[in-house]
């Protein structure tokens, strides 16, 4: 067989093996968890009818709306605060970690590793860690959001800096600009819009995550949901869900408008 033929043969074999491997993993996993895709689909109509009969908020639920709104606003603020604080720290780490702007390779490597560790720990795990350290409080939730966001944004910012500003950084270095000049005159103007776009994305994500984190850390809208849920007040819990959906959609809408303005 000619070399080219052998090459494609090997490629095909590789993909077949990978596919078979995935099928095997799915099969094993569904045996272990006793999950069946067919059953799942079959349950769908029942789920939908249950949804519409049990999750329409009643008048009692609407009476609680101001309190829900309060918690909702608290959650939004916490997400925004955590994201913005993380963004500032991330910017510093990104400047240190970017190939284009790092001071030296050692510091660059350290800041990449720190960011990567933070990013790779799931937000729920962060929440548990701080739960042990600080107990149930809003601050615990804030920290969990902060650390995960910091890891994520640092990586996004590093890529933004390398992509958007490496050529102009080089030009400014060539004219004799100092390091602070280069950061403020080349890196910031060329990367800021993209960075803001990442921050907006992270605010959206964090409002969603804050709900889950709140379940664990006993704060915000997530906690409110768990109280209603555990006391079997499904209709009030449903109102929490509906208002969350409304908030998430609104925030996405706002950030899309902002994105269009800055980019």
């Amino acid at each position: 067989m000619p070399a080219v033929g052998r090459y494609f043969c090997r490629q095909k074999l590789k993909f077949t093996l990978i596919f078979l491997g995935l099928v095997l993993i799915y099969w094993t996993a569904s045996r272990i968890t006793e999950f069946n895709l067919i059953d799942g689909f079959r349950a769908a109509p029942r789920v939908i009818t249950w949804f519409f009969t049990n999750l329409i908020p009643d008048t009692k639920a609407w009476e609680r709306f101001p309190r829900i709104l309060d918690k909702l606003i608290e959650t939004i603020f916490m997400s925004v605060m955590a994201t913005v604080t993380a963004a500032v720290v991330s910017f510093v780490f990104a400047v240190m970690g970017s190939r284009t702007t790092r001071i030296n390779t050692a510091i660059g490597g350290i800041s990449r590793v720190v960011a990567s560790i933070n990013r790779n720990i799931p937000i729920a795990v962060w929440a548990m860690v701080f739960l042990l350290a600080f107990g149930q409080s809003g601050f615990t939730g804030f920290l969990a959001l902060f650390f995960y966001t910091f890891g994520f944004l640092t990586r996004a910012f590093i890529e933004t800096i390398d992509e958007a500003s490496s050529s102009s950084v080089e030009a400014l270095r060539a004219v004799g600009a100092s390091y602070p000049h280069i950061i403020t005159q080349a890196v910031v103007p060329s990367s800021l819009p993209q960075m803001i776009s990442w921050i907006l994305y992270m605010i959206e994500t964090n409002i969603r995550s804050a709900t889950l984190v709140g379940l664990l850390t006993g704060s915000g809208i997530g906690f409110m949901f768990s109280i209603y849920y555990k006391s079997l007040q499904y209709k009030s819990a449903a109102l929490v869900i509906l208002s969350l959906v409304a908030v998430v959609l609104t925030i996405e809408l706002i950030s899309n408008v902002l994105r269009r303005l800055i980019l």
Binding site: S167, S168, A171, A174, V175, G176, Q185, A186, S190
Partner: protein, 280 residues
Amino acid sequence: MIVPILTNISVPKAWASADYFNQEVIEMAQLEVKNLTKYYKDVLALTEVNFTVGKGEFVSIIGPSGSGKTTLIRCINRLVDATDGSIHYEGTDLLTLKGSPLRHARAKIGMIFQHYNLVTRLTVIENVLHGRLGYKSNIAGVLGIYSEHEKEKAIEVLSLVGLEKYVYRRCDQLSGGQMQRVGIARALVQDPAIILCDEPISSLDPSSAKIIMDYLRKIQNELGITIIVNLHQVDVAKKYAERILGFNSGRLVFDASPSDLTTDTIHHIYGAEAGELIIN
């Protein structure tokens, strides 16, 4: 030019001595590259390169891809750190400089890039003023504070390259040829004694390329600024340069005027096959 001045004014005897004139001749070499060698890890990019460039010369560097042209240009303004050798620029060895002396040396050396390297989200004038950063304190530069004189100078160089109508335009709304002219203006506002160009016309169509090369010639003729330009187009190099440096695999293999560039020497620089293709 010096002689009439010397006869008109009374000068100390020592100045008029032969020694003085010898020194003057040595100082005519604005840029002196000696035994320049560069390794990227174990890749040898430049080997023992020696040449000098006089003030106001128009020098073109040619050679096949990977022959070390970019590396040479970048060693001069220290975007790349040479492994060995020296580069004297107006008397000081650039390769030993650090910190603010390095910044000041760079401020006097302009550079023009193949991909213009502008901050495209900023306006033309903002990009041109970046050329002044080499002279600025940290605070003034960070805050973007420029003197009236600097702003006037920026407008002046912009009209020199025919961009007076585009002063407040954002750079991402310009054509390639216009962006390269912004690049030239940014270099000019530095008030440089020398401008290094790394393939300034490789991303441009022939007519924009001609405009750029004509501006470079104008700058050399009218402002007396030394021009060193990497080119891939031998015909362009022949047309504009007063002197051609040919590189092959990191070695300087040709250093003479364009008229000495024959089919044979082109073979020598580019290797046997390339000759016919380039000369036509």
